[in-house]
Amino acid sequence: MTNDNAVLIKVEDLKMHFPIYRGVIRRQVGSVRAVDGVSFQIHSGETLGLVGESGCGKSTTGRTILQLYKPTAGKVFYEDVELTALHSEPMRMMRKNIQMIFQDPYASLNPRMTIRDIIAEPLVAFGTASGKEIDDRVRKLMGLVKLDPDFMLRYPHEFSGGQRQRIGIARAMANNPTFVVCDEPISALDVSIQAQVINLFEDLQKELNLTYLFIAHDLSMVRHISDRVAVMYLGIIVELADRNEIYANPVHPYTKALLSAIPVADPEFYETRKRIVLEGDVPSPVNPPSGCRFRTRCPIAEDFCAQSRPEFKEIAPGHFVECFKWDHPDNQRR
């Protein structure tokens, strides 16, 4: 699926390093290179899925795009506006358009605020509604996420996980954003509730023409909801392609292993499929391997992989891979 819409979000060589301080005088002794140079674009109305294992930097990428962290290097554009260059007040006003939905619906709602106050907070903060308008707008928003508006004076603890996630979604939608970062929005929910929330995301996207960055580790759900998928490993994007392309023809050895590790709800599948099981664990982002990040676990790595970082190369229209051996026979055989 190609998307000819205008580019809404452009990320250029984004880096986010967190300093590590040690000792009495809190000297900086190193840094966690959580995001280490990622570039991509998201078109208007599109869903880009961002997948990877814990600690790969996918959530940090989402948060850095929204300028919740001040990036170490790199640029982020919203339409033509460079977010990384904005001062605090213009950036604050920009936040109307860019919103976030968090993973944990228990931690992201203030337990002492009523649902009405939670959903109305962005309206009050930006002065987009006042007086009686607020209640009307809250009712509409609750209807939008299929919650009963009569519950608006209740508190978060009176709601289940799935309902709380709907409250978080209503709050994010309050000021009609165009771009929403969804940071693992369903991983804290039960299986039967996940499908409800995913369907809601899709309905909202159609109704409000939203653009999503959908961060998750559940690869089958990401495939379901995304138009394009980016795979992250240790702070970098190793492969990015259209969703059907990446799931049908993964090229990077890490993507191949990751996809083959997805549990599939089909017992017959396991009678025919051979799994690529990776050895070992993800190295520490404090001290990432030289050259290709994946070489320490890569089944086809060679000496030259340690020397320099491979180029993030477009090997087919819209299909980017960062690997020296992407077209090597070793990689095709597997």
């Binding site: 039967s192 499908a195 369907n199 549990p263 709800a265 017992p267 017959e268 664990d281």
Partner: protein, 329 residues
């Protein structure tokens, strides 16, 4: 394969809470045969963990209470044994692996000490024997440089390695049954795949029976021979693995399988979603616990709770409606 190892009959467990009595398990019966792997699937609060913990009398009493039932392990009722006797079963003949490898290990004891202690206590090993057996066990679960790593503390191990240590400890006394309670839920997919492969390999080497508790229908498809689906403290469907995925009969199982996105899907289909929420179990359900969310619901479902009845070879379902025809049976 037909030798019956564990036979649970009519198990009921309740918890006393300030809000009232929670009826967590409401009459669960199943059998586990030698060498067999049974998956127990359900959402949080469906009673899957409490069922297994009750069998080993590992639920805190009070507030928990096993109200009724039997759990026959090779003919002996685990629920009627003296606490001294059950201690010889637990860990030695039936071992358990828990979900969270981060909290199940003692952070201030070395891995070696934690592994050697039960060997010395349960099996009367000398310190040297215990040490060499620990190394052997760690090697068996694929920990490199096992002898050196005995001196490490749990925080020096990654999540996947800690779960390997937990499995090694569970296997220490060569149990006949391994109960794994969401052992891969806290792990990343590539590490999850490593653990599943490991358990499949160990199962072949050691021939133990496994009860694998999970909410992940994908993981269970890769490891189990037979699956029991739980809802509201009941087993609502039970079948051989291929049969269950190919011909799910209970509306809940059908909904659960339908709500998963297909990895092979090409176009974008809307996910099937089960509306509503799982029940709060403050009273023992007298009607079908799934009836408020069921699209096949009839008057009878709201009055009487169906029993688990056979619908085919090794396939049992608790439902008043035959979902293949849409009519009451």
């Amino acid at each position: 394969m037909a030798n019956e190892l564990l036979n649970v009959q009519g198990l009921e467990t309740q918890f006393k809470t300030p809000e009232g009595i929670v009826h967590a398990v409401n009459g669960v019966s199943f059998t586990l045969n030698e060498g067999e792997t049974m998956g127990v699937v359900g959402e949080s609060g469906c009673g899957k963990s409490v069922t297994m913990l009750s069998c080993l009398r590992l639920i805190p009493q009070p507030p928990g209470k096993i109200v009724a039932g039997k759990a026959l392990f090779k003919g002996q009722d685990l629920l009627a044994m003296s606490s001294e006797d059950i201690r010889h079963v637990r860990g030695a003949q039936i071992a358990m692996v828990f979900q969270d490898p981060m909290t199940s290990l003692n952070p201030v004891m070395t891995i070696g000490k934690q592994m050697e202690e039960p060997l010395k206590l349960h099996l009367g090993f000398t310190p040297q024997q215990a040490r060499s057996r620990s190394i052997e066990l760690l090697e068996q679960v694929g920990i490199p440089r096992a002898a050196d790593r005995l001196k490490d503390y749990p925080h020096q191990y990654s999540g996947g390695m800690r779960q390997r240590v937990m499995i090694a400890m569970a296997l220490a006394c060569a149990p006949q049954i391994l109960i794994a309670d969401e052992p891969t839920t806290a792990l990343d997919v590539t590490i999850q795949a490593q653990i599943v492969e490991l358990v499949i390999r160990l199962r072949e080497e050691l021939g133990m029976a496994i009860i694998w508790i999970t909410h992940d229908l994908g993981v269970v498809a890769s490891i189990a021979h037979r699956v029991a689906v739980m809802y509201g403290g009941f087993i609502i469907e039970e079948a051989q693995i291929r049969d269950l995925y190919a011909n799910p009969r209970h509306p809940y199982t059908i909904g659960l399988l339908g709500s998963l996105p297909q990895i092979q899907e090409q176009g974008r289909k809307r996910l099937y979603s089960i509306e509503g929420m799982p029940p709060m179990l403050y009273q023992k359900p007298h009607s079908c616990p799934f009836s408020p969310r069921c699209r096949w619901v009839t008057d009878r479902c709201r009055m009487e709770n169906p029993l688990l009845e056979p619908v085919g070879e090794n396939h049992r379902v608790a439902c008043w409606v035959d979902t293949t025809t849409g009519r009451e049976r």
